[in-house]
């Protein structure tokens, strides 16, 4: 109920009832974007981009995620140094905070949810569900669109 009230207060009637929801709000945490690229053939891994903002409520942090389309999901971050060398590793706790002064913005060449072991290829236009675990929240099912975004 709290989530519904927050959703209506913040976005009027534009959320919750759309056929293609662009975002959802859970106890003051808004999912503002959620997408993944179609998986190329022969590739078993993928990067999910799910961005979160704190609209009201208590500070929180992303603890993890699961999906029946992935064997394992880990929060990762790509770093590109001054020489242009890209490296990837597990995201730092500070990168996963969702607070009034820190949005958790996931984007290409940055923080992402690394899917290790796709159980099925991701096809353009489909929508899959990734369940995210936020500190102090019940698990949240996030609809993630599969799209060739640039």
């Amino acid at each position: 109920m709290t989530a519904l009230v927050a959703c209506l207060a913040l976005f009027g009637g534009g959320c919750g009832g759309d056929d293609e929801p662009a975002l959802l709000v859970d106890d003051g945490v808004a999912v503002v974007d959620a997408w993944v690229r179609p998986s190329p053939p022969t590739v078993d891994d993928a990067a999910f981009y799910i961005s979160l903002e704190l609209r009201d409520g208590a500070d929180t942090a992303l603890l993890g995620a699961t999906s029946d389309r992935c064997l394992v999901i880990q929060p990762h971050a790509t770093a590109i140094d001054d020489a242009g060398v890209a490296s990837m590793g597990e995201a730092l706790d500070e990168q996963l905070r969702v607070t009034a002064d820190h949005d958790l913005e996931m984007e290409p060449n940055g923080t992402h949810l690394m899917c290790l072991g796709l159980t099925e290829a991701l096809s353009e236009g489909e929508e899959i569900v990734v369940t995210i675990d936020l500190d102090g929240h019940d698990p949240i099912d996030v609809p993630v669109s599969v799209e060739s975004r640039i």
């Binding site: 242009g84 060449n109 060739s148």
Partner: protein
Amino acid sequence: MTTAHPSTAPNQESARSDGRGSAPPSPPSGRRSNRWPRRIAITLAVLGALACAAWLGLRWITPYPYSGTVMQAPTAAPSMDGLVLSDGTPLDIADFDGELLLVYFGYTSCPDVCPTTLSQVAAARRRLGGDADRVQLLMISIDPERDSLDVLGDYVTSFDPSFIAATGDLPDVERVAAQYGIFFAKGEALGDGYAVDHTATLMGIDPDGHLRIIWPAQLDVERLAADFDELL
């Protein structure tokens, strides 16, 4: 009648003289006021022409602002002998003379940086219309241990049917990468596999076979397309 002329002529002359000095006749005044719109139009046309000339001049003397780093003294692109295209034929970059050859060192298990770059190059290439046929993306796999030729071909064509890929034995890949200033090394373990840290820049070999430009990993599709157009 004969005295009328001497008496009236000075008066008429005086009247004409007065007319010039104080109140001009209406017809000449009308012609002058009608000239102003024409003069303004001519002035504006001249100013417009000067502005166009200045813009063209600036464009001529100002270097095109590429979104990548341009080589001040372009040299012939290093050979890629030893590498093999995904269709099994030896890679010879001389085969791409007359085209803009884009070279990217990556690997297919790369989940973030590589698909981002390949998607952006595909999008920029589509913006070129007919000239897109003269832009060729070549991905060199720096992970020959996992990227077989079949895997490579299927991977790159999923981003754009025109894309091609090549790889080779690890020593050959290392030699070619070093000649292009590319670093790569196995990175963090990922599940049963591993990530590969690597230089994620995109390189452009111009239609004359010179290594001309290096773009950073963070690309702007619109500017990239404009760069392609300029390089062609």
